[in-house]
Subunit: 383 residues, 2 copies
């Protein structure tokens, strides 16, 4: 979409809290403080503060979900979904997106300065969980004076946070839109994360996490990211994008990239190390692997929260396969939660949640209208 | 199966040829010599030399396909399939298995001594292709006095060599059994190989391939192997084997393995570096990625070789998905080649070709009987 439909210039804001001796108590029992949270908001909060939607970012995302930062030509990561007249319509809704704790895009994480030592936390940073990420967001929402969110929405790890909001603060959420996500990682998902971590840890430049004075463990982190990118695409989308096309290359060099797909992965790996902290990579993937809201943990038995769900999955997503979304839906239906499920026909694999904007917009727009009471009757979705 | 049904004690043999100035000319035009080939044989070659079956090993396999080496309790890698009264019945057939060129299990490869320098070849070893692997096997078969193989059989990269035999020496093969394989790697398969290679190359201990005096690039190679093992199993077989079970561990250590699946991958990576050469890893994965017998390359148009095919795939194999086997079958049917296709229902993923012995045995046994003219009529397979 063009820049004209954009929310325009946006700014990163910060909220700090939990200064010692009132540190934040994490799920592990460890304490952390002060905590700084980077966030952005789009649109206007209405008088009764009932139009707020929290957007949750995925693994390597950040608070910059929409609009443009000064001097930057690249819009936020979900700009096609957030803006005037878009699915998350900034004329109607007040959109909030914050960077997760443990991250490296403005919120407190392993690369932040530990006030006790005056140096980056590195591995002294406590283990954080998805519940901790959401707990910190609750502080932010309270700070903004919002009692109840109209909706929480996000894909991939963003979807885990959506589910965690329902588990942790069921009274503070009117509706939830988890996309391309799961109640818990399968061993295969854990395995992919673990290989990425091992690639980082195997890099001698990692220095047991204390690399901040010397530069990132770039090679290991790049390999980790390359693995990630394979899992984000489908076999078919790779075929459509690269086929077996060869790159131009010097014939004399062995084991340089021959195929276009190799060059693409290398490029993705190399750019990632410039923007993402290796220790954050370890902490956040661990948080995903520990995440588990199966059984009674999402919604306690005999309790039916007044929450409505729109659950979205993508047919070619093999990293978070549709059967995992169906498990969420089964669990919700068993608790009599008002749930709509849609499996979008896409060839983009896991990336689809960032790409299939038109199909997602259609679903989200109508779902939010219905949640806000704008629709006269229930809307049935089919794609 | 028990040791009693085994072929018993076996020995590795060697065949050397192509001594300078009569070096082997490789597909690239480069020359290599002398070439040494490690191989094993089981059973007896009959008088008219018509009962020979060539077994092709997969990526990290070797010539030791069956029986036991002196002092070793572990049988060869396909011992359940090869032996008296087994599918590859050593009472009837003469079985040959050789280590591929470029490998590190006795045949000439990058870790072999370069006669020109007196040091290991390292990256001075020429690029070898699957066609080169098969060409070397043809030398061995000629050396053994065999004009025509009763069958060529193998899974994964072994299956590529099977197809290559048909392409390179159609007159020397009576039947072919490619299992869990493809006419060419998809971009996704190339991508997984490339990430493995990058993990090796990223390890500073790789030293541009010149690590032989200092020890293997163990960390990078272990990460590469971990990636491989994820692709060899299915989502479901991992779920059945590990679920989300936790390992016992020291609570104080961050980023050690928590989940059993992590420990398994770590173990697999760590044992691999003790038995496999890192440069061989690079050369052999490249050979797989370059392999391409699509179009007219397997069987030239207007030419129908008198070869019979049994093509086997496994339903849960997502590394070499069944659609790739079906592409082989389509191509063969279009050339009017007598072809039987079977998709075995298995949850083991790509590993299935090493695990689903009973189902494979059933198919292979009857197919070979039919090829040898032992069956009165055509046998139709269904599982």
């Amino acid at each position: 979409m063009s820049k004209e439909n954009s929310i325009g210039k946006t700014d990163k804001k910060y909220y700090s809290f939990a200064a010692p001796p009132n540190e934040l108590v994490l799920e592990s029992g460890e304490k952390l403080g002060p905590v700084k949270i980077a966030y952005e908001t789009y649109g206007q909060l209405n008088k009764d503060k009932s139009n707020a939607i929290l957007v949750e970012h995925a693994f390597s995302g950040d608070a910059h979900a929409a609009g443009y930062h000064e001097g930057d030509d690249k819009p936020g990561w979900w700009d096609d979904l957030i803006g005037p007249d878009k699915a998350l319509d900034t004329k109607k809704y007040f959109i909030i997106c914050s960077n997760i704790i443990g991250g490296c895009k403005g919120s407190t994480g392993p690369s932040s300065i530990n006030p006790v030592t005056g140096k980056p936390y590195a591995l002294d940073f406590p283990i954080v969980t998805v519940a901790d990420m959401v707990k910190v967001q609750k502080y932010l929402i309270d700070h903004l004076g919002i009692k109840k969110l109209l909706s929480v929405i996000g894909g991939s790890m963003g979807g885990m946070q959506v589910l965690q909001w329902v588990a942790s603060y069921p009274e503070s959420v009117l509706s939830a839109i988890p996309i391309a996500t799961t109640l818990k990682h399968s061993p295969q998902q854990i395995a992919f994360d673990e290989v990425g971590r091992q690639a980082v840890i195997a890099d001698p430049a990692w220095l047991n996490g204390n690399y901040y004075d010397f530069g990132q463990p770039e090679r290991g982190l790049a390999v980790a990211r390359m693995i990630g990118h394979i899992t984000y695409m489908s076999d078919r989308s790779m075929e459509e994008k690269f086929s077996r096309k060869l790159k131009e290359k010097s014939k004399n060099l062995k084991f340089t990239s021959d195929f276009e797909v190799e060059g693409y992965l290398k490029y993705r790996g190399d750019t990632f190390v410039k923007r993402f902290d290796a220790n954050s990579y370890l902490y956040i993937t661990k948080a995903m692997d520990y995440f588990d809201l199966s059984g009674d943990k999402l919604i306690p038995r005999k309790k039916k929260p007044g929450i409505r769900f729109l659950v979205i999955a993508f047919k070619s997503d093999w990293l978070y396969p549709a059967y995992q979304a169906q498990e969420i839906v089964k669990l919700l239906k068993a608790r009599n939660v008002n749930t709509t499920y849609c499996e979008i026909d896409s060839t983009y694999g896991h990336d689809a949640f960032l790409v299939e904007i038109e199909k997602e917009s259609h679903l989200i727009k109508h779902f939010l209208r219905s949640v806000s009471g704008e629709n006269g009757e229930e809307y049935e979705y089919s794609i």
